[in-house]
């Protein structure tokens, strides 16, 4: 909620400079302050924000305003470039024989991510195996062995031993014939000296090629400090950010990679084993700033009408039936949540009221919705109005959900339809799109 306000306040300020035909220092200070606020409430490290805003200011004043760009685009472009630079290159995984060690703070998601990664390699056709080197947390052995069993991945652990280094040694010997070996370790923080030493020993023993720090997206100002300590202990090769299915913005993760000088490899988007996604800097930055799709905005600057916008426009035309919603859900994967598209449109000024949360459904919900829609007839998809209680019952039975769930879906569709209508009825949108470089 807060972030949306910030995002919109940032948009307002940026709008202001858009009207000015040059940037004066006072306006720039205002914009930079707004950017600071957005970054700070996204948990970006305070010192880093201060450095960053100085750079943005310097560059915005110093660098030539090229003929093509208005001042707003100029500033956005700089902010975007600076953030991309901080994020570093996304880390790509090795698809050869190698060993991975998973480290991080307590409860950050190491064990879950270990299983997710094993699944990832398995899908790539590699033989993956897992070692449980967490002898600390009660039930750690059971957690990981159960997860491995579910996906049919080889597992080595010793439920009664308390020596994680020895377990690692024996595990590696046992699992020699596997392609990728993942070592899960206990959670620890920088001040737990014994545990940090243990981690160093496990790392040495495993000779891990890939050393991933697993970070909770919700972590605050401690992120840089902790990441630094982990890096000093074992030399990190990448970061995995978890729990991004929530509302945290992940500024801590940004600060961590900026501190360590590595990049992000994956993001965790849920508790189940397939909820692991490749890291995409653009989406991450958009989320961080609570603004529309930065990449699209930047592409607009380059005056190439991005396909995404055309698709969005097409979607905003017509009746918006359930069928359209189905298509939209398919498209969401490709072009990011609709929130972002809508955020780029001047909805506020058109007085369109979009129900809070209507645009923010999780991927999971949308996928479940699609399953439900698969149980509908073509007629129902075209004319949702005809869906009454007996049809609802049939659809519910067909898709294995409750009738209430089907009703929820219909409610969601109604809300979307209303929102779309609001947008569509405004000719201004077309004008806006054209102005933004979309033909």
């Amino acid at each position: 909620m807060v972030m949306e306000n910030l995002g919109s306040s940032l948009r307002d300020t940026l709008k202001k400079i858009a009207r000015a035909n040059r940037i004066d220092e006072k306006t720039l200070n205002e914009v930079v302050k707004d950017i600071q606020r957005a970054l700070l409430s996204a948990d970006v490290n305070v010192a880093l924000v201060q450095q960053l805003s100085k750079r943005i200011k310097d560059r915005a004043l110093k660098e030539e305003l090229s003929g093509k760009l208005n001042p707003r685009q100029h500033v956005i472009n700089i902010v975007y470039q600076e953030l991309v630079a901080l994020l570093g290159e996304p880390i790509s995984v090795l698809l050869t024989r190698h060993t991975v060690i998973m480290v991080g703070l307590q409860g950050s998601g190491k064990t879950t991510t270990t299983a997710k990664l094993a699944r990832f390699f398995q899908k790539k056709g590699l033989k993956a195996a897992v070692i449980c080197a967490d002898t600390y947390r009660p039930g750690a052995y059971d957690q990981l062995s159960q997860l491995c069993e579910r996906i049919g991945v080889a597992f080595y652990g010793e439920s009664e031993s308390s020596d994680a280094v020895e377990i690692t040694t024996r595990g590696l010997a046992e699992l020699k014939r596997y392609d990728v070996i993942l070592v899960d370790t206990a959670g620890r923080h920088a001040l737990e000296t014994d545990l940090v030493l243990e981690m160093e020993a496990i790392n040495e023993t495993s000779k891990a090629d890939q050393r991933f720090l697993v970070l909770d997206s919700g972590i605050g100002q401690q992120a840089s400090e902790q990441a630094k300590a982990f890096n000093e202990a074992i030399g990190l090769t990448g970061v995995i950010v978890t729990k991004l299915d929530g509302t945290a913005k992940g500024g801590g993760a940004l600060s961590a990679v900026a501190e360590v000088g590595t990049g992000i490899a994956f993001i965790g988007m849920g508790e189940t084993i397939d909820d692991l996604e490749k890291f995409e800097p653009d989406r991450f930055i958009s989320r961080l700033l609570g603004m529309g799709d930065m990449k699209t905005l930047v592409e607009m600057i380059e005056e190439e009408p991005p396909i995404e916008m055309e698709e969005a426009e097409a979607m905003l035309k017509g009746e918006f039936t359930l069928k359209d919603m189905y298509k939209q859900m398919d498209a969401i994967r490709k072009m990011g949540p609709l929130t972002k598209i809508v955020q780029m449109l001047p909805l506020g000024s058109l007085g369109v009221d979009i129900p809070n949360g209507a645009l923010q459904s999780t991927k999971e919900t949308l996928e479940r919705f699609k399953v439900v829609m698969d149980s509908m007839t073509g007629e129902e998809l075209e004319h949702p109005r005809i869906i009454r209680s007996s049809r609802i019952k049939r659809i519910a039975r067909g898709s294995g959900v409750t009738s209430d769930y089907v009703r929820e879906l219909l409610k969601y569709h109604k809300a979307m339809q209303r929102a779309m209508k609001g947008v569509r009825s405004q000719k201004e949108m077309q004008k806006f799109l054209r102005k933004q470089g979309v033909k």
Binding site: M1, V2, L6, R37, L40, S41, A42, D43, V46, L105, Q106, G107, S108, G109, Y136, R137, P138, G139, A140, Y141, D142, Q143, L144, Q146, L147, R150, H189, A190, L191, E192, D216, S217, G218, I219, G220, Q221, Q222, E225, Q226, K243, D245, G246, T247, A248, K249, G251, G252, G270, E271, Q360, T362, E364, T365
Partner: protein
């Protein structure tokens, strides 16, 4: 711990005090053009207040306080009134004077992990308090700010205070306590710590294995129950958590146990189905206390989570874990503010006795750099 805010505050106090002194000096200069006799003036040190001279005589007017230092500054003795008639020794604090230092202060709060929205509100309170305050000349503005800030933070932390021990003692048995929170914050560990604590206080404790979702969750709480020698009520993996907790309460009732500590699976607040599950637990279980568990490492998101969990299942108090990880403690302020409910305990490590009662004054003392009590 808590060094960041302490330093920033001292720095803040210095900046704002210096700034005010500059302004004072400017005003003094402007109003004493006719070179009045100069007399000794007061020297400010943080925390002391200065009473302006009330009496003048022909001798050099000097109000010397007991502790005069070598760096005394000089002030005009006669010019006790400015031309505008306003007492020279009283200046009104203006919004403009405070803008910069207050932003610095906000940054300091953010650095301690107080969420942006909450920092803004606290700093706003300070600002309102200060603007228009008639300040005696050279009175330490820093001290004024510190007081306003203390009051602002204390107001957030001291909400609806609730004594956990009293509640457990007084409430009809069995006392049922449900723990909620996002994934991995320390719910299960905290339950084990509290079971240990309550057992040592002589209570008979029952644990409810309400996390029927996460792999290894049953085994985890089972280990704790074994280690501590307390009864655990569990169903199989995938069972309805409300049913497990219900059974635990029934068991406690039948066996005259004192306290039921009910675990729940960690969940992300954007997951509608899982949040509805919490609502169901609330309907089925008449909990005496709903405790929200979050970690001191959490940043701004702490506010949104606390709000969402509070909506699903009204929170009575919160526990902040992993305070041992060098965190600054500001998260406590964010959560208390969002829930309008007190922080009950702090988790300080992974051992069963690593838990202490939360005391607002303790956090304040840390923030403001006083000796630990």
């Amino acid at each position: 711990m808590f060094e960041g805010l302490r330093q920033k505050l001292n720095q803040f106090k210095k900046t704002v005090t210096n700034k005010e002194h500059e302004l004072d000096d400017a005003e003094v200069e402007a109003s004493s053009n006719d070179a009045a006799r100069l007399a000794e003036g007061p020297q400010e040190t943080a925390g002391e207040t200065y009473t302006p001279p009330a009496v003048h005589d022909d001798e050099a007017v000097g109000v010397s306080r007991s502790a005069e230092s070598a760096t005394q500054r000089e002030v005009p003795g006669e010019a006790t009134r400015t031309t505008s008639g306003r007492s020279l020794f009283e200046r009104e604090i203006k919004e403009k004077d405070l803008e910069e230092p207050l932003w610095d202060l906000e940054i300091a709060l953010l650095e301690s992990d107080v969420a942006m929205s909450v920092s803004e509100e606290i700093v706003d309170t300070v600002k309102k308090e200060l603007i228009g305050t008639k300040r005696k000349w050279r009175q330490d503005v820093g001290a004024l700010v510190e007081q306003a800030l203390r009051d602002g933070i204390l107001k957030v932390l001291d909400v609806n205070s609730l004594d956990f021990d009293e509640l457990v003692k007084k409430a009809p048995k069995p006392v049922t306590i449900v723990f909620t929170g996002i994934n991995g914050t320390g719910k299960t560990t905290t339950i084990a710590k509290l079971a240990y604590r309550l057992k040592n206080q002589g209570y008979a404790v029952v644990l409810a294995a309400g996390d029927t979702y996460r792999a290894g969750a049953l085994e985890q709480i089972e280990r704790h129950a074994d280690n501590l020698g307390v009864k655990l009520i569990k169903h199989q993996q995938g069972a309805d958590p409300a049913a497990v907790i219900y059974d635990a309460v029934q068991y406690a009732r039948a066996k005259h146990k004192d306290v039921v500590l009910a675990d729940t699976a960690g969940r992300i607040h954007t997951n509608v189905n899982l949040m509805n599950q919490l609502k169901k637990i609330e309907r089925v279980i008449d909990a005496d206390l709903v405790v929200f568990v979050d970690e001191a490492l959490a940043g701004n998101d702490a506010v949104e989570r606390a709000l969402q969990f509070n909506t699903a299942m009204a929170i009575d108090g919160s526990i902040l874990t992993k305070v041992d990880a060098d965190s600054k403690g500001g998260t406590a302020i964010s959560i208390a503010h969002a829930t309008n409910k007190p922080i009950l305990f702090l988790g300080l490590g992974q051992k069963y006795d690593d838990i202490v009662k939360f005391n607002p004054q303790w956090l304040l003392n840390r923030l403001f750099g006083e000796a630990e009590t």
